[in-house]
Symmetry: C2
Subunit: 78 residues, 2 copies
Amino acid sequence: MKTEAKFYHAGCPVCVDAEQMIVDTIDNERFDVEIVHLGDDKDRISEAVNKGVKSVPALVVADQPFHINFGASIEDLK
Amino acid sequence: MKTEAKFYHAGCPVCVDAEQMIVDTIDNERFDVEIVHLGDDKDRISEAVNKGVKSVPALVVADQPFHINFGASIEDLK
């Protein structure tokens, strides 16, 4: 069974670069990455916050948030 | 041929978590990740700086630096 990973972003240039890197490098045999655009899908901001996401872009794997560079604060997406 | 990726860190707890995530998730069939401890290997700080690394932990793939969370500023490692 694949492990779920979630990539949260907001469409910013920093986000796009990070998304490209994640999609390129992640082992797709073992991980399913869901890409969540929090600008388009504001209903999921609270889900991201609950996982510890403080800024985008961020990758959540195994319930741990990894903030990758800095695009925007999650506060600014609300 | 595998693509080279470099993970720069300084042994801090944030670094260890990020290293674990990278080692877990990266596609080892396509990427060779070199782990560089800049605390132990201060000679390579300038290499990291030249690649655009501003803080650790950071992953450099395809000449692009991705800062993952924040452990320490590169300035503080010098």
